[in-house]
């Protein structure tokens, strides 16, 4: 699963929003949300909140965090760490890189928390 997937060009995902990559396109079991932060970084997490059925891509993206649209648990986009209840489990991260002007997602490959694609 180390094969990268082209998610689009950086400006196709508006800053402050996210795009969901479905399992049929990624080959990964769960949908993956690729986030584009206001500061221009890209991150990817499993899209489904670890608490209940909600799409994190539809959440509130601010700084390096996303707040779930259902019950407001927040997750760190770099590390997947859950920052507040009601969720209790971290979100799984995936590596994203901007390569040759394309946003490339590596489904199933954990992100390196020290670096962000920008």
């Amino acid at each position: 699963m180390s094969e990268g997937i082209d998610v689009g060009s950086p400006d196709e995902i508006e800053a402050g929003t996210a795009r969901v990559v479905e399992p049929e396109d990624s080959g990964f079991v769960d949908p993956i949300a690729v986030f584009h932060t206001e500061s221009g970084c890209f991150f990817a997490l499993n899209d489904t909140c670890t608490h209940e059925e909600a799409s994190l891509a539809e959440g509130w993206i601010e700084g390096d965090t996303v707040e779930c649209p259902l019950h407001s648990s927040s997750f760190n986009l770099r590390t997947g760490k859950v920052l507040c209840l009601p969720a209790t489990e971290d979100a799984r991260t995936h590596k994203v890189a901007v390569e040759d002007g394309r946003v490339v997602l590596y489904p199933g490959v954990a992100a390196d928390p020290a670096r962000a694609a920008d």
Binding site: E52, W60, P69, S72, L85, P86, T88, E89
Partner: protein
């Protein structure tokens, strides 16, 4: 003291703030679990007991929090201790009262026949009675009554909802959304009656008759009451701590006894001007007050808390509100509508500040509204009303 979200949040905040002394969680039902799912996923059977736990099993050992599945029977602040049922004294330099609340009993003749919903065991009992074709009368159309009615119809029960206020929830979500939400009962086959029950009598076959003030009578296989809560403040009162429909606290959770703090549904805020606030009775308020109490138990400044927020899920829609939509004290309402159907409501003060917002299935609007309120911004009315303006664009 307590195994709810207030006590759990306080314990976790104490550790996060570096407290490394002994920490005991007196939680009669064992490992803390979350209550909102009890009228939603847990009641519907889509979430089990493990799913609603507030922390993974290993969390308590990892954070050196000892969970003692016992009930306190007395607070002994003078001896720096809490007394358990068997007479054991648990020594404690600081005690947090987070004993929550009990459902308000239905105080009418025969009212003890009504089920209530607060604990996991209550939800388990309800799952036994909300069955296909059962005639269910729900008394109280607040958040819990409404969610129980919604779950009951989804199980195929015949549900009647009784509440004198038509529509309920106006102060929390405003008139327009309250009407829209109330109309959903009829749309989903729940009959609603604007009245109050006067008495319940048993019919021989195990069913009941509920007599209403409007003269009608309802036959019921089961009655569920969701008519509010009574704070579990008895131990505080007995220990001489000031109580008035809740254990009185300041914003830091301090009670009138310096060794005792209170948080969550059991507590009631006394504002700096001496005015007693309404009890919060919502999940996030319990989390935040637990965290604030943890900070002040350590002599640290509690974090700022923003406007109160809650959600409710019923009939497949997700309702959220922040602040107040109660326009009786002033302000004007702005509605966001699509094809004449209200999606969101905003209450603005005369000086343009946002006092509150509520929305159905538009959670990002509420996230925007919270930030507008926390930052003291004055939003553009036209933008609030315009469904084409995305939530993010409401902030500079």
């Amino acid at each position: 003291m307590g195994g709810g979200v207030a006590a759990f949040s306080a314990a976790s905040e104490l550790r996060a703030r570096g407290y490394d002394g002994a920490l005991t969680l007196l939680s009669p039902e064992g490992a803390p679990y979350d209550r909102p799912p009890l009228s939603k996923g847990y009641l519907l059977g889509t979430e089990d007991a493990a799913k609603i736990a507030l922390a993974a099993e290993g969390w308590y050992a990892e954070h050196e929090v000892e969970v003692v599945a016992e009930r306190a029977v007395a607070l002994r602040p003078a001896e720096a201790a809490v007394e358990l049922g068997d007479g054991t004294l648990l020594r404690a330099d600081r005690v947090l009262l987070a004993t929550g609340a009990r459902p308000r009993p239905l105080a009418i003749p025969g009212g003890e026949a009504a089920y209530t919903l607060r604990d996991r065991a209550d939800a388990d009992a309800l799952r036994g009675i909300l069955v296909p074709e059962a005639r269910v009368v729900v008394v109280g159309a607040g958040l819990i009554g409404t969610e129980v009615a919604s779950a009951a119809v989804s199980f195929g029960a015949q549900v009647t909802l009784v509440d004198p206020v038509d529509p309920p929830l106006v102060p929390a979500v405003g008139e327009a959304l309250a009407r829209r939400l109330h109309a959903m009962h009829a749309e989903h086959g729940v009959r609603s009656i604007a009245s109050v029950p006067l008495g319940i009598s048993a019919s021989g076959d195990g069913s009941h008759v509920v007599r209403l003030a409007d003269g009608s009578a309802l036959e019921a296989d089961a009655i569920v009451a969701g008519i509010g809560i009574v704070p579990a403040s008895r131990l505080a009162a007995e220990a001489g701590i000031e109580v008035d429909d809740g254990v009185l606290v300041d914003a830091s959770g301090a009670t009138t006894n310096p060794a005792v703090f209170a948080a969550g549904d059991v507590s009631r805020l006394r504002k700096p001007d001496g005015i007693l606030a309404r009890r919060a009775e919502h999940w996030e308020a319990a989390v935040r007050s637990g965290q604030a109490a943890a900070a002040s138990m350590l002599g640290q400044a509690p974090p700022e808390t923003g406007a109160p927020w809650f959600w409710s899920d019923r009939y497949g829609v997700h309702v959220e509100a922040v602040g107040t939509l109660d326009g009786r004290a002033g302000g004007s309402t702005v509605l966001r509508e699509v094809d004449g159907v209200p999606q969101a409501a905003f209450l603005l003060a005369d000086d343009g500040h946002l006092l509150g917002a509520a929305a159905v299935d538009l959670p990002l609007l509420i996230r925007a509204a919270r930030r507008i309120m926390d930052r003291g911004l004055t939003p553009d009315r036209a933008a609030l009303a315009d469904p084409a303006v995305p939530a993010r664009r409401l902030l500079p």
